[in-house]
Assembly symmetry: C2
Homo-oligomer: 301 residues x 2
């Protein structure tokens, strides 16, 4: 097992324990809601955003106990968006991470509340734990996640997605959609992970460095989506753990329908290179971020 695979596996396990601890216990009132929240978040996913936060935290020397709180906040936003996305009025999907989706396992009303409560919990985590010695800077971190989640971030990307069904999008339009829908949270994961820490830490980053990291996050967010579209067009449902070929079936534009598989793969490779370029000045400290970039582009599921 390579050192990187071991790092991923260790951090995925560690993060699962963090989530188990931070989510409301299933026997706490209201039990059904709390059980459904745990069902929707635990035991699933590659935890790409948390891994990026851990890796960005290593780059800046941020304490891992802080980084994983920020990572959990980002992952709860991601998890809530999946729960709402799968509902009948959105994508109407029955399978997620190899399990019945939340509204299938529970019911629609519960799924709606699960998403709502997970979003609240994300902001609770970012505000109740000390994540930066400078509270004013931590407020900026809260704002960063709020903007990334809202109508000019993830939720806005989903609205653009809704409006695009059955339409012929141009490549720039498709890019705009994904920069919001997937990209915003991936960038937030990187930036939040890097900013956890003491104000005068050796690891504290300049604005120019944060801009480089943001550039890395932006490229990786797009690359992630392009690779997703390629995998969705090539893989089968069992491997993906979610319904394959669904976007094309739903007449949603994808990088593959727009560019073809070969060009889409080339685009992913270019974004990968741009992402790595943005890390140049960080040297050895950015090792895990580089390895994650490779992992995200090379993955098979």
């Amino acid at each position: 097992m390579s050192d990187f695979i071991s790092w991923v596996s260790t951090h995925q396990s560690r993060f699962e324990e963090v989530l188990k601890r931070l989510l409301p216990q299933a026997d706490a009132m209201p039990q059904r809601l709390h059980a459904a929240m745990r069902y929707s978040v635990l035991d699933g996913g590659k935890r790409v955003r948390p891994l990026l936060a851990y890796a960005a935290g290593e780059l800046s020397g941020a304490p891992v106990e802080r980084v994983e709180i920020a990572a959990a906040a980002v992952e709860l936003i991601h998890a809530y968006s999946l729960v709402h996305d799968d509902m009948p009025c959105m994508d109407d999907d029955v399978l997620r991470r190899g399990k019945p989706t939340c509204h299938v396992e529970y019911d629609e009303a519960t799924a709606l509340l699960v998403g709502d409560a997970l979003q609240s919990l994300a902001f609770q985590l970012l505000s109740e734990h000390r994540l930066n010695d400078d509270a004013a800077r931590q407020l900026q971190m809260v704002k960063l996640l709020a903007v990334a989640s809202g109508s000019r971030g993830m939720a806005g990307g989903q609205a653009i997605d809704l409006a695009s069904v059955g339409k012929q999008l141009s490549l720039p339009e498709l890019e705009q959609m994904h920069i919001h829908k997937t990209g915003a949270l991936i960038r937030a994961a990187v930036l939040l992970g890097a900013q956890c820490g003491a104000e005068n830490n050796r690891g504290n980053l300049t604005q120019a460095q944060l801009d480089k990291l943001d550039r890395f996050g932006k490229c990786m967010g797009l690359a992630f989506q392009v690779v997703d579209d390629v995998l969705d067009s090539e893989a089968d449902t069992a491997t993906l753990g979610k319904t394959a070929g669904k976007d094309a079936d739903n007449n949603k534009p994808t990088y593959v329908t727009l560019l073809g598989v070969a060009e889409a793969k080339k685009m992913a490779a270019e974004l990968h290179r741009d992402a790595l370029d943005a890390l140049t000045e960080f040297g050895a400290a950015a090792r895990r971020l580089r390895e994650l970039a490779d992992f995200i582009v090379m993955r098979k599921y």
Copy 2:
């Protein structure tokens, strides 16, 4: 026109302008989502929570420009909960504040995203504007709203509500539901309004004083719900601006079905008295809070 009615009217108008300014403009991308967000928030409601925040701010001498940002955050959470509550999988209601509900005027998917994005915007407002000279204290304000909104607050109350349909609840169980569902946000409005300000302001409150205010908010939250149930059982749809008698029709327990109208009115009067008792030590500074308490209990719609 009495001085209090004039105060209410002035602050309602002022607050409407605040919301218009803080909500994304309808011509900003994605336009349909932003238009639907404005449709769901503007031009409706008595603004009870913002009025409580303004009144609590007057009690502590907090700058009104800060108080109304906090008030807007609370009102956006309230507005999002109404949008989601009205959806077919929850209460399936078509009328709200005399207008078609969001999913009727737009569509279900948009209504889902409107609620999600309004919640994000609430936390954006609380973190991007300076609301207290002490940033650490402001982080605690963010936490307060997150807890009040989440699975142990408003969303949790809605889950208890869902579970109670068709069941015979005891009075303590009904109270637990409403303390979460309606009460949590009303308490948050009072506490956030009072905490906006400079750390060493003359108006800064002791923990004991905040506890008194919390007691006031708790009593008013329950009183508000009891009065709502009484009005719902007596008024007609045109006066309420929403579908009347709906809870009883849906076989949901209410204070009126549990206690009868006369006892419910008596309970509201007792809660009103308890609320006023909690304000005793504040003297003249709590004048607007007292008047609002009267208004909430005496209202006819």
